[in-house]
Structure formats: structure tokens, C-alpha cells
């Protein structure tokens, strides 16, 4: 993928499919490294399936033989000399603490580092598509931090749903402004 924000969208959709009610996307940046962490409290994966997720021929989809979201993110990270991991606890074994954490670390100074791209659109698309989920987004840079927690928004909005067009436009504007201030 040409932008990491598309990889993030792809991985976060796995959390949606796993019926998570909270998904946290954390981006942690230093001068040298860029770390993506996507954690959820969805149904999780059993150990034998977890072992195969980085294999491009494994997937939960029935429409095609291969699922490429995780293999592509792993490749993108390893191409920069970074690292990748997926940790998961399935609800059958961990009824109170199930979920999945996908983590990718990139070396920002590698020529093969893919730019983050339009992360604001990724976040707003996820919120609009699954307004029932609590989305927590934190992007920490040496220059500052961008933060969004849909539970905090809900507390202010009351009965107005998160996928209301005006709310989505507001969220987009809020994130864009936060990024503009960080530069």
C-alpha cells in the first residue's frame, strides 16, 4: 500500500470484524522510529490460527483463499529494518481479557519507509463506519500529540449519534487542526 494509513484501516477493520467494542490506535514517533499499535477487545484468535496470520494464505474470508492485510503491514515494517508482532487472546480461553494487539515498528530513516498518508480520513472513516465502537486514537510525536476518544465526544454530544454528518465533519476538522498545530 502506498500509505501506512491504508494499512491501519485494513488492520482496524479486523478489530471491527472481531466484534470489539473498544479499539485503540496508537502511533508513537521519535526522530528515528515510527510505531503503530492497534489493540482491541474483540474475540481474539486461537493459538493455532494466530501462528498462521502472517501467512498470506490464511484468512477468515471465504470469498478468497488469501488475506493480505497483516502480511502487507509486516512486509512494510520489515522493509525498513523494523519489526512486527501480533499477540492475541481468544475469548474461549480468556473470557475476561480477550483481544488482539498488532504492532509494527518502522525505521523512519529507511528509504523504503512508506509515508503515513491521510490518517485523518482513516480515523473518520472508521468512526463513521462503526459508530458503536469506542475509538481511541493517540499520535505522539517529538513535536506534540494528537488525541481523540469517542467516549469523551459522546459525553458532550449526548443523544447526537457519532455518525451524524456534522459530527463527522467536526471530528475531521478537529483532527486536521490538531495536526496543523503540531507542525
Amino acid at each position: 500500500m502506498k500509505e501506512l494509513s491504508l494499512n491501519i484501516l485494513d488492520i482496524a477493520m479486523n478489530s471491527v470484524k472481531a466484534e470489539a467494542d473498544t479499539v485503540k490506535i496508537t502511533l508513537t514517533e521519535t526522530d528515528e522510529s515510527f510505531e503503530i499499535s492497534i489493540s482491541d477487545n474483540g474475540c481474539g484468535m486461537k493459538e493455532d490460527f494466530l501462528k498462521t496470520v502472517t501467512d498470506p494464505f490464511s484468512t477468515t474470508r471465504t470469498t478468497r483463499k488469501v488475506g493480505m492485510g497483516i502480511p502487507f503491514l509486516k512486509l512494510a515494517a520489515e522493509q525498513t529494518g523494523g519489526s512486527f508482532s501480533v499477540k492475541s487472546k481468544h475469548k474461549s480461553e480468556y473470557p475476561d481479557s480477550h483481544g488482539t494487539v498488532t504492532q509494527a515498528v518502522f525505521n523512519k530513516n529507511s528509504i523504503d519507509f512508506t509515508p503515513l498518508g491521510d490518517i485523518v480520513s482513516t480515523v473518520t472513516t472508521l468512526i463513521q463506519g462503526s459508530p458503536g465502537i469506542r475509538w481511541i486514537f493517540v499520535h505522539t510525536c517529538p513535536k506534540g500529540e494528537v488525541n481523540l476518544d469517542t467516549d469523551e465526544l459522546k459525553a458532550v454530544l449526548g443523544d447526537v449519534p457519532l455518525d451524524n454528518t456534522e459530527v463527522i465533519i467536526w471530528i475531521k476538522g478537529y483532527l486536521e487542526e490538531a495536526y496543523a498545530e503540531m507542525v
Binding site: 500500500m1 502506498k2 491504508l6 501467512d55 498470506p56 494464505f57 478468497r64 483463499k65 488469501v66 493480505m68 502480511p71 502487507f72 512486509l75
Partner: protein, 108 residues
């Protein structure tokens, strides 16, 4: 033109050839796998320099007739084995990507 005939004409080194009689219908060149997945057409020759395991999945999904690894790129035995199991032809070319593409163009 089949993959077998292409090998004969251009002298590519076939490291995996489970389907030698596949017909060739054009060529696609690209290294960004997600991009190739959406754009390479069925029965295309796919020229790339990427040699990790994901190329086998992309070749399967796009249903290309063979992968040509250009620029002298080599491929691990385990990937060759998987290609055989999944019915993916892999050829090696010492030429640069452009020259490899020209050779394919002239052959087909």
C-alpha cells in the same frame, strides 16, 4: 505463446514450473504488491524484483501466468516449494527489469 515457449525464446531460468503450458496474455510490471494485486490481469507475465512469500499470494490472486524475478534476484527454496504447491510459475532473469520487459515484448 505459452510460458514454456517464452522460456525457450528468452532463456529465462525456470525455478518453479508447475504449469508450463499456461497461455500468456500481456505483461505487468510492479513491486508494490497491493498495487499489483489490483492491476495485474489474469494470464499476464508479472515482472518484479520482490521475492518474499507474499508474491506467491499476489500471483495466485491476480492469476498471472508466471512471475519473472528480474535483475538477478534470487528466491528462497521454501518459496519455490510453495510456488510449486500453489501452481505458480517462477522464472529468473539476469537482465534489468526494462530489458526483461523488452525481451518479453519481443517474444509474445
Amino acid at each position: 505463446m505459452t510460458v514454456n515457449e517464452l522460456i525457450e525464446k528468452c532463456g529465462f531460468n525456470a525455478v518453479s514450473l508447475p504449469e508450463p503450458e499456461r497461455e500468456i496474455n500481456g505483461c505487468y510490471i510492479g513491486d508494490l504488491l497491493s498495487w499489483v494485486m489490483g492491476r495485474a490481469e489474469a494470464d499476464n507475465v508479472w515482472i518484479t524484483i520482490m521475492s518474499n512469500i507474499n508474491i506467491i499470494a499476489v500471483a495466485t490472486l491476480a492469476d498471472v501466468c508466471c512471475i519473472i524475478l528480474a535483475e538477478g534476484v534470487t528466491v528462497d527454496d521454501e518459496i519455490v516449494k510453495l510456488a510449486g504447491e500453489k501452481g505458480v510459475n517462477i522464472l529468473l532473469s539476469d537482465k534489468k527489469t526494462y530489458e526483461t520487459a523488452v525481451a518479453v515484448y519481443e517474444a509474445i
